[in-house]
Amino acid sequence: MPDLSYTNFEIAEGIRSRDRKIFEFLFKKYFNPLASYARFILKSQVISEEITQEVFLKLWENAASIRIDSSVRAYLYRSIHNHCLNYIKSCKTDKSQAFVTVDVNLHPDIALSHLSEDLLEKLTTTELESYLNHTIDRLPGQCREIFLLNRNEDLSYPQIASKLNISVNTVKTQIMRALEKLREAYKKF
């Protein structure tokens, strides 16, 4: 990714005028985080990426009329959140999708428990992100390595385990330890 950043004003203007450079910047910066958010809710990689693309298409389609109140970041997260909810809703109403009674909604139900847009917005502010990144930097060596392999490289637990030659359970324990530390830090934030 080119290491350039734009001011909020340039981004807002760029969206409005459907500037490819700005769209490329946003796409490359936010595609993976948004897709990973969607996958957390929907569990499916394929559908998550499809929905994420849909979010960017919508941004392009509505570019002229969109009003971005806070930040593009918050807007994109709200958008992916709503797209996920809509997808779940369409699965629930479209009975033809389920030919065997499998409760396809269990995972999203758990994932979304008490997850409101307010909270989402709080979680996705750049301030919190940099604060948490700071906390991650101070995690003990292996714990940090595992956490980053998981969150940044998006490796699965078995993949991390075989890469570092440790057990899957150790991986999970370290991930949880990292999250606990972050939770403590968040309470002070």
Partner: protein
């Protein structure tokens, strides 16, 4: 000071699994029960989840995200700008001057992976046009003569630029469904690595993935002539009637029978089956949906063993499926898949086969679930 609660190792591990989407349906159900047990459990889960979401994953690999952007950019061009010069953005689109020859009608799966490009071979006159559908996608193509083609995941269709000038020849690697525009003067010929199909104006399906154990052509409507040679170099030439299919086995090596005619021998073969040549079997299929439904929204699977099904699913969902247990490969599955996600399909498989699975990025591991196996065999014994 509020009460601090930390769950035991088991639940920590289950929560970690859930965050990554690596829990089975049954495990998720247990997790939900546990969360409903105590408000502290729920609170703990939510806080951990919030931290998980707060640590947003950054863009991972440059080339991956670049590829995604290129595809998205291509889609924008297709959808909103017509085919403007912007299309040259992709290196593979360098010489796309003749793209008008190919009209992309639409992408069936709605997945944005669609690539078409032209390759120039050594001889200038022999320009070859290639259509490629990547894994995890399907596409629909209209050829210059009006023939409609549905191209399945991981398949390539190519033809020379002289297509339709005196004949109509296409080369297929993978699977495609053809609805051939009638033209009695110019037969439509599909070439694969194992067999060729000649048609005048018919509808048929050809499945010829080089990595598969067999190659199959299935006729829906009209008449087709199929010729080729088996792995043991025995030539065959057969005419198919509607709802018949011909399968050439890649592993047949020994053969003495020579049948180079359209007569179908009926000897000791089971009902509806006939042997045209060693390693070549002709089937009369009461239901051909099994062969052709992959292109539709409903995909019928009939008594497919899990080994084959793993290959089909890996193409459809673009994942690598690893089967850890040999005995699992023998189980068969019958059912219909509509728009289910891979995870949903796997849960459905678990209803009738003793499957245990683990999902990673682009990879799925299948193993035999001994507990389920025992349950299933108990049911079978009961029913006897």
């Amino acid at each position: 000071m509020e009460k601090e609660f930390t769950p035991n190792e088991h639940w920590q591990s289950q929560i970690a699994g859930f965050l990554k989407g690596e829990l089975s349906f049954e495990e998720e159900k247990q997790l939900q029960l546990w969360m409903n047990e105590d408000v502290l459990h729920l609170q703990y889960f939510e806080e951990i989840r919030n931290m998980w979401l707060g640590t947003v994953t950054s863009a991972s690999h440059n080339d991956q995200i670049n590829q995604k952007w290129e595809k998205f950019n291509f889609l924008l061009n297709q959808k909103y700008e017509g085919k403007k010069t912007d299309i040259f953005f992709l290196p593979t689109f360098k010489r796309i001057a003749s793209i008008a020859a190919v009209l992309v009608i639409g992408m069936v799966s709605g997945i944005f992976l669609y690539n078409s490009f032209f390759k120039y071979s050594d001889s200038i006159k022999d320009e070859v046009c290639e259509m490629i559908t990547p894994l995890g996608a399907k596409s629909q193509i209209l050829l210059p003569d009006g023939t409609q083609v549905w191209l399945n995941a991981g398949s390539k269709l190519s033809y020379k630029k002289s297509f339709n000038s005196k004949d109509r020849v296409v080369t297929l690697v993978g699977e495609a469904f053809f609805k051939v525009k009638t033209n009695k003067e110019k037969p439509f010929i599909v070439q694969t690595h194992r067999l060729n199909v000649k048609a005048l104006g018919t509808t048929f399906n050809v499945k010829a993935y080089p990595e598969d154990k067999s190659v199959t052509a299935t006729l829906v409507e009209g008449i087709i002539q199929v010729n080729g040679s088996t792995a043991s170099s025995k030539a065959f030439n057969v005419t198919l009637k509607p709802s018949q299919s011909i399968t050439v086995d890649e592993n047949s090596v020994h053969s003495n029978i020579k049948t180079e005619n359209t007569e179908i021998q009926r000897e000791s073969m089971p009902e509806g089956k006939a042997l045209a040549s060693e390693g070549v079997v002709i089937n009369s299929n009461p239901s051909i949906e099994k062969f052709t439904s992959w292109k539709d929204s409903q995909w019928f699977i009939e008594a497919e063993n899990l080994e084959n099904l793993a290959v089909l699913l890996s193409r459809k969902y673009n994942v690598d499926v690893h089967i850890e247990s040999d005995s699992l490969k023998q189980y068969r599955f019958t059912g219909t898949i509509r728009n289910e996600t891979l995870e949903q399909v796997l849960e459905i498989l678990k209803l009738t086969t003793p499957l245990k699975y683990q999902v990673g990025k682009g990879e799925v591991w299948w193993d035999l679930d001994p507990g389920l196996k025992e349950n299933f065999s108990r049911i079978l014994v009961k029913n006897k």
